[in-house]
């Protein structure tokens, strides 16, 4: 091969390699991107189907139930307006407790229960996941707006 052909071959290979690499990376990004969905959205049916997403909220007091001797645990999450039941089989993080803000990764099953494959609680007593804080604030604002809308009718 002449030097010019060699160079063309090298450039061609590099372009092909970059194209394949870009495709694989974008694919990986699409597959591993997870949306955070607010509990109110989930209860209205607005959530990505057939793929994992994240939910967050406060663990409802007294809602944590587990079968004696089994890893399976169920608990309710709330944004103080709506509720979502979460099932999980595994070890909960150290700072998981009732009343605490947590985030769960997983998907909704047919009976409307969120099946989590990961539950996260941050390692700081005072830390509230920002997504949870915002969704709580939104839910509270919605409630207030609803109450104000009712008032003129009274």
């Amino acid at each position: 091969m002449k030097p010019r052909q060699q160079r063309m071959l090298a450039v061609g290979l590099a372009v092909a390699g970059i194209a394949i690499a870009t495709m694989l990376t974008l694919q990986a990004f699409k597959e591993n991107m997870m949306f955070f969905v607010e509990i109110s959205e989930v209860s209205q049916g607005n959530y990505p189907e057939d793929r994992n997403f994240r939910v967050g909220g406060l663990v409802v007091e007294g809602s944590v139930k587990r079968q004696t001797g089994k890893l399976d645990v169920a608990f309710d999450l709330t944004d103080l307006n709506n509720k979502l039941t979460v099932n999980y089989a595994g070890i909960l993080p150290d700072l998981f407790r009732e009343g605490q803000g947590i985030i769960a990764h997983g998907r909704l099953n047919d009976s409307g229960v969120f099946v989590a494959d990961e539950v996260l609680a941050k390692h700081d007593e005072n830390y509230m996941p920002p997504e949870v804080a915002e969704s709580l604030a939104k839910a509270a604002a919605a409630q207030e707006a609803a109450m104000q809308a009712e008032q003129p009718a009274q």
Partner: protein, 653 residues
């Protein structure tokens, strides 16, 4: 009184840093020897005052002076003394103080070891470092004063976050910071070179050892952090790709590219403007990492709103430093590149590939880390990017890099005949392919494309790295041996090989299982049986713990006993998992207690991690390679000796 002395010392350091920033740069511009002479004393004085402030804060911790807000928030009476000291850098304010202390320390070292540089050049370097220090000190004093008083003082403090009460995390931040801050020296050299518009190969030779030192500390810092996450977080993972980790990893990748690009600039006078850009990028990413993580912006956009003052200052400072450097670069760099060429088959080409691939890897990680930020800004939806993205995005450029690395090491500068290279590397390639397929199949009973690719790459680099040191060791008297620089490169690349093998095997053959165990029950994973013998209470200095006793058997033989703990720290009432780990060179067995499930049954996390030690060992060997390379004697020549060398080489002194 002591906190006030510390506060005052910081203010004095701020004034000195301004002198150190302004006068030498002005003096170098006007060629005014008196102004240039300010540089060294100002830097030394600044270091002394910051050290005084640091000692004052440490004393406040040791005396448990809870009238200091920062101490009250991050210490407690029964906190063990070593952790009272490490608590100094356990949160935002104190870690900034550590950062400025280290920056001043590096500056003093630059003053001490720059006598061979032209006086105007070293004045510019010290001046730039002074400006950086000024920015940090101003930030500390205006928004993050560690000496702020709290009135009335509480009787006891809020305690240090229990996760940080660990020897690994006590030394991890200083190592990391020495590395981060160390890149500021390369940055200052780059700025000084661009101001003086004169960038010859000597510049690269001065910069190289500094960069290598910074890089090796950063390597140790990251490895310690990974190791700590493994045994302390209770999950058994060694890398999570979270924003905090990525923030430390990106400067490391660019720093690695910089080391290699500097080699080309020093040996061949090429890639000059590219090297400058990398020097700017390495330090900019360090800044971005420390600041943005500390301010919380990488976790969420909203952290900005939490403390707008800090966020705005950070933004302004980043704009001035990075923006200023890039403007200077755009203005001065185009005139710097030389005309010398190189053939396609040469070490220059391989180092170019190294740089391109490392920059691609950094860009992909940066993209994944910042994606949640951009998506939220664009359409308001909140996303997170899972670790598998980063694993794929990182493996795509890195695997070719590892294969090419082995060839590049044995390729000559300028031009290399392919035939002799092929002859030299043929046998290692065959051995690597055979070993890379046999090791997984024989020891782990299986394989896969990524696993074979990884193990072959690791063995290949390890063998090829050993060629030159072995030849040098067996050489006949009178022939030239390997230089420290060459040996350092071989050792560091050997470490990369170990690391790659470790990562490949751990990823493919880790066994993880969450099980419920009652006392007397056994669970089996990966051929090991775990028996829960009992549970008892244990007492620590500032925590209570429930301790499990778990016996491990392999084929009926007793392997060892692990005692994982579930701790409750008394002041914060926060629970923490302390894993039990049976470490071996070829595998770790990892046990962590989960939750009580009732009826004396506990959930237990069991993990089998083959070759996980190779990951950290590989990283420490890389750092050792850096240490060997940085001690090469060609960096140590005094000015007079260099003059002699230059005369002997026929160059003007």
């Amino acid at each position: 009184m002591i906190p006030e002395i510390g506060h005052f010392a910081l203010i004095l350091a701020l004034s000195l840093s301004l002198c150190q920033g302004v006068l030498p740069l002005l003096g170098a511009h006007r060629n005014d020897a008196a102004m240039i002479a300010v540089a060294r004393p100002a830097a030394t004085g600044q270091f002394v005052f910051i050290a005084v402030a640091f000692v004052c804060l440490t004393l406040s911790f040791l005396q448990s002076d809870f009238s200091v807000l920062y101490v009250a928030n991050h210490s407690q009476l029964s906190l063990p003394t070593p952790y009272k000291i490490s608590a100094v850098w356990g949160a935002h304010e104190g870690s900034l103080l550590l950062w400025v202390l280290l920056l001043a320390g590096w500056t003093v070292l630059v003053c001490r070891y720059s006598s061979e540089l032209p006086e105007r050049f070293s004045a510019r370097v010290i001046g730039v470092l002074g400006f950086l220090s000024f920015g940090f000190l101003l930030f500390t004093l205006l928004t993050s004063n560690p000496f702020e008083r709290l009135f009335p003082a509480p009787a006891d403090g809020a305690d240090l976050n229990p996760l940080l009460q660990d020897p690994g995390l006590a030394i991890h931040p200083p190592m990391l910071y020495i590395g981060y801050v160390g890149f500021s020296v390369a940055f200052a050299f780059a700025i000084a070179a661009m101001i003086s518009g004169d960038l010859d190969q000597k510049w690269a030779r001065w910069t190289r050892p500094w960069t290598t030192w910074a890089w090796l500390f950063l390597t140790i810092g990251i490895a310690l952090g990974s190791w700590w996450a493994y045994y302390e977080l209770g999950w058994g993972g060694w890398w999570f790709w979270d924003p905090v980790e990525n923030a430390s990893f990106m400067p490391w990748l660019i720093g690695t590219a910089l080391i290699h690009s500097l080699a080309v600039t020093e040996k061949r006078g090429l890639f000059k403007s590219w090297t400058l850009l990398l020097a700017i990028a390495a330090f900019s990413l360090s800044l971005l990492g420390t600041f943005l993580v500390r301010s919380g912006i990488l976790i969420s956009v909203h952290a900005f709103a939490v403390d707008p003052e800090r966020g705005l200052f950070i933004l302004a400072f980043l704009t001035v430093v990075i923006g200023g450097a890039l403007v200077l670069y755009a203005w001065r760099a185009p005139g710097l590149d030389s005309e010398a060429g190189f053939r396609a088959m040469s070490r220059e080409t391989f180092l170019l590939c190294n740089n391109v691939l490392l920059v691609i890897a950094t860009a992909l990680i940066l993209g994944g880390t910042l994606a949640p930020l951009f998506v939220e800004l664009l359409d308001g939806s909140k996303i997170s990017v899972g670790p598998p993205y980063f694993e794929i995005a990182f493996a795509i450029p890195m695997l070719p890099l590892v294969y090419l690395m082995a060839i590049g090491m044995h390729t000559a500068w300028r031009s290399q005949a392919p035939d002799s290279l092929f002859a030299k590397l043929r046998m290692p390639a065959v051995i690597a392919i055979v070993a890379g397929v046999l090791i997984p199949v024989v020891f782990y009973g299986g394989g896969g494309a990524m696993l074979f690719a990884g193990v072959i790459a690791g063995v290949w680099v390890m063998i090829v790295s050993a060629i030159d040191p072995i030849r040098s060791w067996r050489r006949s008297a009178g022939t030239a041996g390997i230089t420290r620089g060459g040996l350092g490169m071989s050792v560091a690349h050997f470490g990369v090989g170990m690391f790659v093998i470790g990562v490949s095997v751990v990823s493919a053959y880790t066994v993880e299982a969450d099980r419920s165990l009652s006392i007397g029950d056994r669970a089996e994973i990966a051929g090991y049986e775990f028996e829960l013998r009992g549970l008892r209470n244990a007492q620590g200095p500032n925590y209570q713990a429930l301790e499990g006793e778990i016996d491990i058997f392999s084929d009926g033989d007793f392997v060892g006993q692990l005692r994982p703990q579930k701790r409750t720290y008394l002041v914060q009432q926060s629970p923490m998992t302390e894993a039990g780990i049976d470490a071996g060179w070829n595998r770790d067995l990892f046990v962590a207690l989960g939750d009580p499930l009732g009826n004396d049954t506990w959930s237990v996390r069991l993990q089998y991690k083959p070759l996980i030690r190779f990951i950290w060992l590989g990283a420490f060997i890389m750092a050792l390679g850096g240490l060997i390379a940085a001690s090469d004697r060609r960096y140590k020549l005094t000015a007079r000796a260099r003059e002699r060398v230059n005369i002997a080489e026929g160059k003007p002194a």
